[in-house]
Amino acid sequence: MTRPPLDYLLGSDGVRADATLPLTWFTLAISIIVCVIIAWLLWVGVRRARANGGAAETVGTPLEPEQGRGLSWITIGLAVSAVPLLATLIWTMAALGHVVGPPRRSGMTIDVTGHQWWWEVEYHGANPSDTFATANEIHIPIGTPVVVRLHGGDVIHSFWVPALAGKTDTIPGQQNIAWLQADRPGIYRGQCTEFCGVEHAKMGFEVVAQPANDFEHWREAQLQTAPPPATPQLIHGMQFTTFRCGLCHSIRGTDAASHYGPDLTHLMSRRTIAATTLPNNPGALAGWIQAPQGMKPGTLMPDQHLSGAELNDVLAYVETLK
């Protein structure tokens, strides 16, 4: 069976999740055992009961006098409970120490900002020109801890990649730190988990963990600016896109430079559009540009109502943004 995308019970793929998983199972097992024991005690206790009755039966049953043996239930019960509780307490503190802070030697640091209802991701390099932004898809090299500085762009969101680590909120006016370290390559689903408005449901993202080489390639590619348009249609498409879409989006290498919406410079390199709402294919893209409100009702990108020709030009251009 394949694991559900947001599962964190059946497996883990990153250092922090690895440290949490056994504790999750441990507490779950204790919980189930406690429930089974109590259910059994209750069942047997009640089964000894007199037949089903009503008021008459109740009134007719003589009273049991108070006896000493009742109290020992409480003392024994508390004493037995103390053992798993104490164990949990100790394990919790130990595990917390493992997962809480980023390790002192971290590979890289990225900035992630939660927006209604998409994720802005910023990478930094040795010099300022090595900085670039992308959206809704975070690439990390495997085997190295990646520190994620979390910022709140508007309201509170929460950053969660269950296979790799637990949640950390992104809060306006405050910088929180999370860190991720993937054990093996893979595509891990993430999701906003703090209620943030109408489309809180559709505020997903993906973490793509790759070997260091592949990651470097990806990074190199992302640093490129958008290719210049080569055909008249593309030129027209670019002009229209920077004029219209540039109100909210930026495409590095063109005049489109607004940061209200996701950076589109390498849109076509992403697997999904609109925070995992749709797969990134031409049909979905066309549909999204024309009528995002139909696919993600309430999203802050308005329907564009382009004419057929405009849409074709825009699509043709946008599809060059690899």
Binding site: T20, G45, A55, P65, I76, G173
Partner: protein, 654 residues
Amino acid sequence: MRQPAYRTPRIGESTPELRARLHAIWETAPGWRGWLSTVDHKEIGLRYIVTAFILLAVGGVEALVIRLQLAGPDLHLLTPEQYNQFFSTHGMTMIFLYALPILSGFSNYLWPLVLGSRDMAFPRLNAFSYWVYLAASIFLYSGFVIGAGPNDGWFNYVPFAEKDYNPGINEDVYALGMVLLGISTTVGAANFIVTAFKMRAPGMSINRLPILVWGTLTANVANLLVVPAVSLAFFLLWLDRQFGTGFYQPSAGGQPLLWQHLFWIFGHPWVYAIVLPAMGMVSDGLPVFCRRPLVGYSLVALGTVATMILGFGVWVHHMFATGLPALSLSFFSGASIIITFPSAIAVFAWLATIWTGRPVITTAFLFFASMILLFVIGGVSGFMTASVPVDWQLTDTYFVVAHIHYVLIGINVFPVVGATYFWFPKMTGRFLDERLGRWNFWTMFVGFNLGFLPMHLTGLLGMPRRVWTYPEGMGWDTLNLITSIGSFVFAIGVLIFFYNCWKSYRSGAPAGANPWDAPTLEWSIPSPPPPYNFAVIPTLASRHPLWEDRLDESEARSSLDRGMTLDEGKETIITTAMDAEPDRIVEMPEDSYAPLLLTIGLAVLFAGLLVKLWLVAGLGGVGCLAALLLWLWPRQEMRERSPEPRKIGEPAHG
């Protein structure tokens, strides 16, 4: 007429003449006048109960719509905005308008009866508390019915609740409504606390209080201290929204997390406040059907209080993911794990009571006994979230939704329904139908577990809460469908319950004074109780006045049909706080319109604030002032003019 300052109360038997005289003194005027002005705790308690049950049905129907929307992936029954208003209103209704008021209703009805008093300490405040609760419910729902209900969840995090992100009137209604409701809760709390300490029958020393009283008392001490936190939080939010202040706005030097602290400093004690009285009901009701006293009375009472004391110190477990320092996380995590102990006391005490007793299976017993299991299931899921690293995965998933429904439905709804089966005969003089009762129980029990047990797994497989829909292929489809089906089965159970109440109220089998052969004071008087409750004030010699002869634990016997008659006015007795020695005779207030008038004044005030008609608000404020002065005007018969009239034989110290 002026009262003499001192009197030796007459001791007498409960005779027909005495009862007739008391009836005349205590009776509420017939017709709408009496209806609007009554201060009888039984009437007020019943109103609380009925109103809260109606709101349970309303909140439940909202939940059913939610479940329809979530029954499968990518459904479009509701728009996202509608969905958000539905789940927020559902949470608000259940937590604030059902869960506490229902318990206040039962306690209001039962307290004077179990304490051996003729009313609560402040009957008019009691009436006021109900009227404001009603007004606040209508106020809070006024937004929802015009499509502007709360839309930020019941705990309403900022900055999403701020005007920048939430420009409609939704959050203004919620904020002001919560401040209004806070007034009701607070005055109710003050009334319960003073009643518990002063209004007990002689001999009901503090170690003889029924656990129900312990639970409600503890809950209300907490309310008195923490409700101001949430009222303030909402008031500051309203200021932010109306006047552009920046309490929660980082751009203005404010702090979004301030909201979360204020809210959860209130919120966590509150979630115990809405279960401790219900646990008290079980502690008092279960033993009756086990035919023996509760095991470990003192420990259970102590556990109740300890739960609350620890409960003041765990609020940060709702904020584990907000980036707080590890040290504070460990502290609150530890405290949340430790809080399991006092809860466990009650669980083992109930189990021991069942094991060492001779249980008789009635519907009430089934509800009480099954609650033990539901409590443990809900409790252990809380224990899991108490561990920080685990909570970082669990928080804000359906696992937490499962936790809250197990604790809320398991420890509030189940005991409350059980309590209704148990005390309905006292309240109405008629039994609820037992056969319907079995159907009621099994549909509720099966439906509930069918619906909510799988929800734990939904959460463990990663389904976030508060999502209006979810895509296919996430592994949640079947689980959600099962949950939706279970919810409807559960709802049918609730429907059977309501039907049973309605039918039995009209034609149930008559029940006598003590149909279950229960041990406590409320069962020593007729069903339904007369307006004055006790014809003579009883004197207690043990915790189980009606079982004394059979348990034979000590020599002393309570005195139930001989005692102070206190029939020279609308009087009852006040006793000392710990030992319940007779202290003073008090004159109880007559029925009064002041509470209703004050409520109307408040409603006008809040409505004016909401629509920003400051003049209307001002008028409401003046109305409140007038009603308050009318209310507090010193009573004629308590006044004296100097020189004091001295009675012969009056002690000189005066």
